[in-house]
Symmetry: C2
């Protein structure tokens, strides 16, 4: 039975792609079969693994009816595969806005693939439109990367309310998989204030692991590699590996 | 004749709101009548000026037909007014998707207000949906904040192509007002690489002023104030004031 996790937050630039990509790679390194699904038309998760502009892709599955198996790509990690996105998905928001069952398109795609993978991780765009809705309907859990800044904290209640609405209307099994503090700088007063506030309100739903601000994480995508291949000894690599281990430990206890 | 500038970039977290808000305040301090229009449902520009959750707002104008004049709010700066946004705008993307002339809703709102202001600055959400489309149809110029990172650079050609399409289909006067390098850290190799690439391709369309990474800029919104009221001597305040002066100098030459 695979774990389907949507990495979502409508606030932009909080580390969704960096988290989805590097967590997927870390879990694969730890021996789990992982599929990374990119539903963001920016296709950053795809290009961060060297799969920019490839075809077939998710658009071809959703709109041209090709089989999902045809759009699975291998990576340098034997246990990590990718279902890439494309800019063409931008049209989806408008093309699908009025379609029947427009929120259940992705769940049909992923449904057939679920048995093959232990984890399916979905990278979402910075909005609460049709594409993110599809990811929330498909997922069991939502992992929320939270930048330790004021605007990011302000947007959290909107996101939590949206997850509740999707749970009630479309997907009763959906739950908060966890909140991950990203771009964390312990010397910064604002960071510590945001952390204190979030841990007070959400308690154990906040991962113990925090992801520090680390320039190596922002350099890795230009080489089309996860942080573990670009700079395995960096603080960013260690943090995402610790997160993967924390996740496996939590899962073992469930 | 007012200058209408859309601050847009579908890449998230690149400094759109921080630029729209602080540039608007800087121009007002330099004596220009300025209106800041927030079309992002996150309403960060509104809350960054202490106007979180106020009503009436842009949603009431677009969907409930109230007069735009009723949703203009004063700020601590006599020459800066705000037309605030609200979370309710999220429904717009779906509610308006099929409406006739859905791309021209904002231009009708702003049309009546244009004579009152020398500058109208529009903050956009991190997407290329209906709301950003409305801003691009309304604006004469697009100001593109560009974070000096790989994913942000990757998204630039998509944005430039979208601006071209909107110019051709809806708004012939639309042009690239300028590209602004944000969160700039001169010690960082990636920053310098992105700068070199962008200045090579876009030349004088790139502002000489760059906005440094400055933690005071991220602290100011939690006080509901522009950087000039929160910490006028900060590097962030000086950079946005220099940008405003560069803009006025360029305009004088036109
Ligand atoms: N911990 C970190 N330290 C330093 N840089 C980071 C870190 N995490 C992400 N970045 C960089 O910050 C930028 C934003 O991160 P990312 O693109 O992953 O966010 P996102 O939430 O996916 O953005 P979007 O909302 O556009 O999808 C990227 O350039 C990325 O390389
Ligand atoms: N030059 C800067 N130095 C330091 N922090 C900054 C700077 N500019 C913006 N920030 C902070 O970085 C975060 C992202 O900036 P901002 O919200 O303005 O980007 P945006 O493009 O409007 O995001 P979105 O895509 O969600 O609308 C915010 O928390 C902001 O306070
Ligand atoms: Mg992303
Ligand atoms: Mg913004």
């Amino acid at each position: 039975m695979s774990r389907i996790i949507a990495v979502a937050n409508q606030k932009g630039g909080v580390g969704k792609t960096t988290t989805a990509l590097n967590l997927a790679a870390a879990l694969a390194i730890l021996g789990q079969e992982v599929l990374l699904v990119d539903v963001d038309p920016q296709a950053n998760a795809s290009s961060g693994l060297g799969l920019r502009g490839v075809s077939p892709n998710l658009y071809d599955i959703l709109l041209n009816g090709i089989f999902p198996e045809k759009a699975l790509y291998k990576t340098d990690y034997p246990k990590l595969e990718v279902l890439p996105s494309t800019i063409d998905l931008i049209g989806c928001e408008v093309e699908l806005a009025a379609a029947q069952g427009r929120e259940r398109l992705l769940v049909q795609v992923i449904g057939n693939l679920a048995e093959r993978y232990r984890y399916i991780i979905i990278d979402c765009p910075p909005s609460l439109g049709i594409l993110t809705l599809n990811a929330l309907v498909t997922a069991q859990g939502v992992l929320i990367p939270l930048q330790c800044e004021y605007y990011a904290l302000e947007g959290l209640s909107l996101l939590i309310n949206t997850v509740r609405k999707v749970k009630k209307a479309f997907n009763p099994r959906l739950y908060l998989y966890g909140i991950l503090l990203t771009m964390y700088d312990g010397r910064n007063k604002l960071t510590r204030q945001v952390e204190a506030e979030v841990r007070k309100h959400f308690g154990r739903a906040v991962f113990e692991t925090v992801i520090p601000r680390n320039v190596r994480l922002s350099e890795a995508p230009s080489h089309g590699k996860p942080i573990f291949a670009y700079d395995p000894s960096s603080r960013g690599a260690r943090a995402y590996m610790t997160l993967a281990q924390e996740i496996l430990k939590r899962e073992a206890k469930l």
